[in-house]
Point group: C2
Chain length 201, copies 2
DNA sequence: CAAAAAACAGACCAATAAGTCTGTTTGCTG
DNA sequence: CAGCAAACAGACTTATTGGTCTGTTTTTTG
């Protein structure tokens, strides 16, 4: 059951992007961590950028589909799913051995800030990941409306954008303040808000 | 009325940090834009990092004190002030000739993502700027409670953190999607939320 | 088992960029 | 106006880093 070097490179690059960012991460260190060499990497990927893009795509889509999508799928009631997601996030594993942690915040946010205005390919990819995330939440908000746990007065996509924004902003604050109470207080306020904004009638 | 080169360097560095980030910005280009040379810059600052830190400090504190603080000071009612701030932000000038723009989002968020886990000096500075921002809002929320436009059931600092998070997250979304409607919809939801969470009685 | 292709190792190259150092200009002061 | 210090110009140094290229090992396949 030998792991494929291409996958190892993708995971290792993700960790570098998450912890150091794109410009500050260097290939030699990355290759050392991955246990390979220049030749090994350039055999699979045409450039640092190509590996980084593929890495963000695989990990980003995977985390949304499996962690978020999985939580939604395990609950009939999307309210409980959202609550569980926010409680589970601080201890979540993003990919392989790489845990989510408050010191480094949200990798998607990090890449958006660092790269989206600098490189069009990154921008396009990051936007598509963000769209996938928002679409998944909106979809489940709609489901909540259909099964009657939420009212119909709100627009699911708008509400999903609001939720995502609130989470991203909270994680930014966490990254610089590293106080878990802020996360708990903010998510509590968010859930409280949702109950009001989405109430029936 | 000749402008001081030290100030020009601070403004030019801020633009570079805002538009390219710390690692991707290079000194030669920056010096060309500022109209000076290596000798000119190293006369005032010991390193690129020193200039960047000073730049973020001056501009960050200035924007919070003047733009945010100014808006709060012009209104007795902090509800109206917050509303005006959110409406004015898309056309605000951050410093000198550098306008706020959705393509580049929030410079504070950008620096937090790129630098706070990478360099302790950046982290300390960025946290202090964030604290100043939150404290200013909390202060004015408290004022709103005291003059009776808001109820007393909420904790000003927690609410300020929630507001800041929501704005930061919204600007992250703007940076990658660049659709002003999202900003308008999100800020509308935020204000709506505040009215509910801060209501009297 | 032999040949070919995939996978990998690592020396080398070229570009970039921060920082240094020497020398020149500008402006203030006694 | 002389002298001195602040302000600035720019060539040079040094370190880093992404990418290339040649050669070796491993695996697959006919």
């Amino acid at each position: 059951m030998k792991e494929n070097m291409r996958d190892i490179l993708i995971q290792t690059m993700f960790e570098s992007l998450y912890h150091e960012g794109y410009n500050a991460s260097n290939l030699i260190d990355l290759l050392k961590k991955a246990g390979t060499s220049k030749g090994g990497m350039y055999h699979y990927f045409g450039s640092k950028k190509e590996l980084a893009l593929e890495s963000m795509r695989i990990v980003g889509e995977g985390f949304i589909d499996h962690f978020w999508g999985g939580c939604f799928a395990r609950h009939d009631d999307p309210i409980r799913a959202l609550d569980e997601i926010l409680k589970a996030l601080p201890n979540a594993t993003i990919i392989g051995e790489c845990p989510f942690d408050f010191k480094h915040g949200c990798p998607l946010n990090h890449m958006i800030q660092e790269m989206s205005a600098l490189d069009e390919d990154f921008k396009i990819l990051l936007e598509s990941i963000m769209d996938r995330w928002i679409a998944l939440i909106a979809e489940n908000l709609k489901k909540g409306q259909n099964i009657g746990v939420w009212g119909k007065s709100f627009e699911p996509t708008r509400m999903a954008q609001f939720i995502v924004s609130s989470i991203e902003g909270t994680l930014t604050l966490m990254k610089v303040k590293q106080d878990i109470r802020i996360y708990e207080e903010n998510t509590e306020l968010l859930l409280q808000t949702l109950k009001v904004l989405t109430q029936k009638g």
